[in-house]
């Protein structure tokens, strides 16, 4: 037998995921000798043995890789012999230190083997809430620095007992080098607490379950932050949670025991089931079943006015144990006071959630990095991420290879739903969703996370990218950083970044042919100093032409207009019908909307421009239409409320509705304006048409008009690819309708899926643009 040797270099997410023991197992099974090690570039193996065995090893390497790993590339090189003597066995060699580029894998939901352990009375981890292995458990949520080993995680405080240590040391064990490995004897401990004192109980989970059954609110420390839980079937309990959390309407996520329980509440397709069972265990938006006598019925307060609900499966042993101890599904909403980010420390939980929760399930493992639950939806075109955090961040996104030679960029993101992005060598690492930077704790998180990521990835940017808006906290932070590092600062127009994010996610190269970006958004600062938000941008990473847009409409009172939909109704009607229009002359169905409101002052703002910028915003158009239907006319209680309510109303009427007309002017730039739409809509209102039908006609009108405008612009410029993006595109009717219409015209339609279409994806677009600028 001839012994040949091969040098195997594996790149990707291959550290801290059980890759070396996997290689070790595989090599032994194939009768190969040699060694495997971790280094700065990933995993390196040298294998000795028969050529056919080596071939099989390489084939199996790719298809049997550990669940949490993600192989980007496997490069092989034949080692020149002779080998005297070749190694006698296969060994795992200690890591080689060096600058890190491999990063860290996302946290993963408890694997089936670990779930089996905690429910097996004979297992030493029976009922243990911190069980994990190399295939599951905390990662980013507990890491403080690199290299990723136990000492640089919040598990450093716990010394492994001999049994855990021997698992950790044994390459044949599922827990070989599982950094958070723990058991009841040596690992983190769970306890129950109420009114500042520990509850004397041997079984804190049973205690919490009984409190939940009694309708109480329990705050529990999850993987990336505290959750607030109540019985999801108990109306009074859910209403009380809403009242205490000062969250009157925003939908609440629900945790179900399993898919079977999920199906009693919602329709769950195979693709949706797969999404729920994914190792990220995200919240998945699902269609609610029609009300029936079936048990368990969900409380009506979970998603008022909506036809969907966000469900998730348990993601940690603690959640598994708790949901198994209660009969029905549990509301599992982020543990925070209204404007704050999710609480992560026991101390903050006591201080900030003490007024909300009746009791706590706490433990002594520190959450280092806050990770909100990720939110996803299964669209016809594939899974769509709506909020990207736990289970997804910080997995890198592979860009087109053309980005290989571009300078590295740190992009700072937007102001709301903030994320940042590190782009280097055609790989983009986008941080977890952190929230609104106006909030001081979020800003602190943002800065802390930025520092951590730069260290984890040994990231030294060549450039910094920021939004054009001078007052964004992220813009200011980027400006300071660029000055400190003496590197260029690149300002990127908001909607250009939305477009580029979609292009980058879909692998378009830096020198891509021009595309048409249809960006439907709330508002962002335009290149001309006005506010944009309904944009047709022709171009690519390197630049764009504003080929078309929505008619600019006054935003009376600036940001106040985004909170109070009725202001946009006044502005839209005045734009459509001029100063002739007044609330008193408006159709009688509109007059109740304006009672008690100082319309004259708003009209004055519109006429004088005082604190009233012009905005071509798609989001504010939805606000105006919602207000006309009397939906949150006075105030929205959460961002995007008008959009989701209109969507839910429209859905049952879509098949029978005809589109409202929209004026399309094909000048340069082209313009969509709304006068004829408002005429038709007001006519419908006068006739007493059902609000759902009106909403459906509005959605269809938008889809038709946007498609026509896009087709027109694309035709003039010979474009084959249309990229859709922007926060308003999270509306499934709009996204689905545009996708279908434009695809049917033969366009290649790109839709955001791996990153949110809203500002959560902005940083990727900024990075891609700055990289090629």
């Amino acid at each position: 037998m001839t012994v040949t040797a091969t040098h195997v270099r594996i790149k990707g997410l291959v550290q801290g995921v059980g890759f070396r023991p996997f290689v070790w197992h595989l090599a032994r099974e194939e009768g190969l000798t040699g060694h495997v090690l971790n280094d700065a570039d990933g995993v390196l193996a040298e294998i000795f043995g028969a050529a056919d065995r080596q071939q099989r090893f390489l084939e199996r390497l790719r298809c049997e890789a550990p669940p949490l790993s993600e192989i980007v590339s496997v490069e092989t090189a034949v080692l020149a012999g002779p080998f005297s003597p070749p190694p006698q066995d296969f060994q795992i060699v200690e890591s080689v230190e060096g600058p890190a580029t491999t990063g860290i894998v996302p946290d993963a939901a408890t694997c089936p083997a670990c779930v089996a352990d905690i429910f097996d009375p004979a297992n030493r981890r029976h009922g243990y809430a911190f069980t994990n292995c190399t295939h599951c458990g905390p990662r980013l949520s507990i890491v403080t620095s690199i290299p990723y080993d136990r000492a640089s995680t919040s598990m450093a405080a716990f010394k492994m007992c001999p049994e855990c240590q021997s698992e950790y040391d044994d390459p044949a064990d599922r827990r070989f080098h599982a950094q958070p490995n723990a058991c009841p004897a040596c690992g983190p401990q769970l306890w129950a607490e109420a009114e500042g004192t520990r509850i004397e109980t041997a079984d804190p989970i049973r205690w919490a379950a009984s409190r939940l059954a009694a309708g109480e609110i329990i705050a529990l420390k999850g993987l990336g932050g505290f959750h607030l839980a109540v019985d999801a079937t108990n109306d009074a309990a859910v209403a009380r949670l809403r009242e205490k959390k000062k969250r009157p309407h925003k939908p609440l996520a629900v945790m179900v025991r399993d898919l079977e329980q999920a199906r009693t509440i919602c329709h769950v397709s195979d693709r949706e089931a797969a999404l729920m069972e994914d190792r990220a265990a995200p919240i998945v938006l699902l269609r609610l079943r029609a009300k029936s006598a079936e048990k368990p019925a969900l409380s009506g307060h979970l998603a008022p006015g909506l036809d969907q609900c966000g469900l998730m499966l348990p993601a940690t042993p603690l959640h598994h144990l708790l949901i198994a101890a209660v009969p029905g599904p549990l509301v599992m909403t982020s543990g925070n006071r209204s404007e704050d980010p999710q609480v992560i420390t026991n101390e903050d939980a006591r201080r900030n959630l003490g007024q909300i929760a009746d009791g706590f399930l706490m433990h002594d493992r520190e959450i280092v990095n806050r990770l909100d639950d990720s939110v996803m939806r299964a669209d016809r075109g594939g899974p769509v991420i709506l909020r990207r955090a736990r289970g997804h961040a910080p997995a890198p996104l592979a860009l087109n290879n053309g980005f290989q030679t571009c300078p590295s960029v740190l992009a700072m993101g937007g102001e709301l739903k903030s994320t940042f992005c590190q782009l280097r060598q055609a790989s983009a690492v986008v941080s977890q969703h952190m929230g609104d930077l106006e909030s001081r704790p979020v800003l602190e998180d943002y800065e802390k996370t930025l520092t951590l990521y730069r260290q984890l990835y040994d990231f030294e940017p060549d450039r910094i990218a920021v939004d054009l808006h001078p007052d964004f906290v992220s813009t200011q932070a980027g400006r300071r950083l660029a000055a400190d590092l003496h590197i260029p600062l690149i300002e990127v127009q908001h909607h250009h970044a939305h477009l580029a994010a979609c292009m980058a996610e879909h692998g378009l190269p830096p020198d891509s042919d021009p595309v048409l970006g249809v960006v439907l958004d709330g508002s962002g600062l335009g290149s001309d100093g006005t506010i944009w938000g309904g944009e047709f941008l022709f171009g690519g990473y390197k630049g764009f032409e504003r080929a078309g847009h929505f008619l600019p409409i006054a935003l009376p009172g600036g940001a106040a207009a985004a909170r109070e939909p009725w202001r946009n109704l006044v502005a839209h009607l005045r734009a459509a019908f001029g100063t002739d229009w007044s609330p008193s002359s408006a159709s009688s169905s509109l007059s109740p909307i304006f009672t008690g409101k100082t319309v004259s002052v708003i009209e004055h703002l519109i006429d004088s421009g005082l604190n009233t910028p012009m905005a071509s915003s798609a989001g504010r158009l939805f606000d105006a239409v919602a207000a006309a239907l009397g939906i949150c006319a006075t105030r929205q209680s959460y961002e995007g409320q008008t959009g989701v309510l209109l969507e839910a109303l429209a859905r049952p009427y879509l098949s029978q509705a005809t589109a409202y007309p929209v004026d399309i002017s094909s000048g340069t730039p082209g313009m969509l304006s709304w006068e004829v739409m408002w005429e038709a809509l007001l006519g419908d209102l006068k006739r007493g048409t059902a609000p759902g039908l009106i909403s459906a006609r509005f959605h269809l009108g938008l889809i038709k008009a946007i498609s026509e405008m896009a087709t027109h612009i694309a035709g003039d410029r010979n474009i084959r690819t249309i990229a859709l993006s922007g926060g308003v595109l999270q509306n499934a009717i709009l996204a689905g309708g545009l996708y279908e219409q434009l695809s049917a015209q033969g366009f290649d339609v790109l839709v955001p899926g791996k990153l949110p279409a809203n500002d959560g994806g902005l940083s990727l677009g900024q990075a891609a643009i700055a990289a090629v600028t």
């Binding site: 000062k246 006071r337 209204s338 404007e339 704050d340 900030n352 937007g414 102001e415 709301l416 739903k417 930077l437 106006e438 909030s439 001081r440 704790p441 800003l443 808006h469 001078p470 007052d471 964004f472 906290v473 908001h494 958004d521 709330g522 508002s523 962002g524 600062l525 506010i531 935003l555 009376p556 009172g557 600036g558 940001a559 106040a560 207009a561 985004a562 909170r563 100082t598 004259s600 002052v601 708003i602 004055h604 703002l605 004088s608 005082l610 604190n611 009233t612 910028p613 905005a615 989001g619 961002e639 926060g727 809203n758 500002d759």
Partner: protein, 329 residues
Amino acid sequence: MAHGGGGRATAELIADLFQHHLTNPILDQGNDAALLPPVAGRLVMSTDGHVISPIFFPGGDIGSLAVHGTLNDVAMAGAEPLYLTVGFILEEGFPLADLEKIVISMARAAEAAGVPIVTGDTKVVEKGKGDGVFITTTGLGVVPDGVHVSVERAEPGQAILLSGSLGDHGVAILSKRENLEFETEIRSDSAALHTLVAGMISAAPGIAVLRDPTRGGLAATLNEIARTAKVGIHLEENAIPIKADVKAACELLGLDPLYVANEGKMVCLCEPGDADAVLAAMRAHPLGRDAALIGTVTEDDAHLVEMETEIGGVRVVDWLAGEQLPRIC
């Protein structure tokens, strides 16, 4: 009125008008330069140009504002103001009757403050080269021994006091200029604060910082303090006095009262142990009736102003680059 050589009669008219209304022994000496008696102590001096539209507004006019503004700048150094000077730039054609109203208003404000206007000057410019009337005032004052009021003295732990409600002046001006009608008339808070300051200093001579939150409002003033003194500022939204009608008007206009101008309000930073005494002294004065403890100075490497909101979040109160552009996407 006319300008230049042809306006000799006008110049005399104006001189008479000032003479008549602003009379006091030093001004009456009739010299180009006012001769002042010796003063013991450290002097402070401040000058301010006043340009405002509309010239007359609920609660004051450009005349009283020009007196109050400069007196307050002197007072914010912890000083007792002694003298004022005034310079007028009038646009040809500006109604004499309006000028007289302004001069009377200045005279009343100066008299009420007990600070004489000791010298002045008037120029008339061609029509189109001015905007009605511009007034520059200068104030001279003396700082009592042992008083050291300065922004650099802001230190973590200090209490932050506000002398009264926010936003009255800015909203009053805006409503008048834009002809906005609210249920009640909102009046400017324009007032001279030096007697209030004197009371506070006698209650606690160690007061560290005094500032009047004029243009840019409380937000700009506190950000300036935070950056200059390299400290953080923590505010409690619940504690900040804002009148209900001002709040409602701000909401309607989409303005944040923290960024709206004031002309008769002051921020005071003092040691926490002095806070009660200073607050009592403020509340004992008519201009400080609604005074409140609104926050504390903190240690903060980012030198940010943050505010705990009514519903319990903590938001950053930024220093804005320009006008308030909407930031909601």
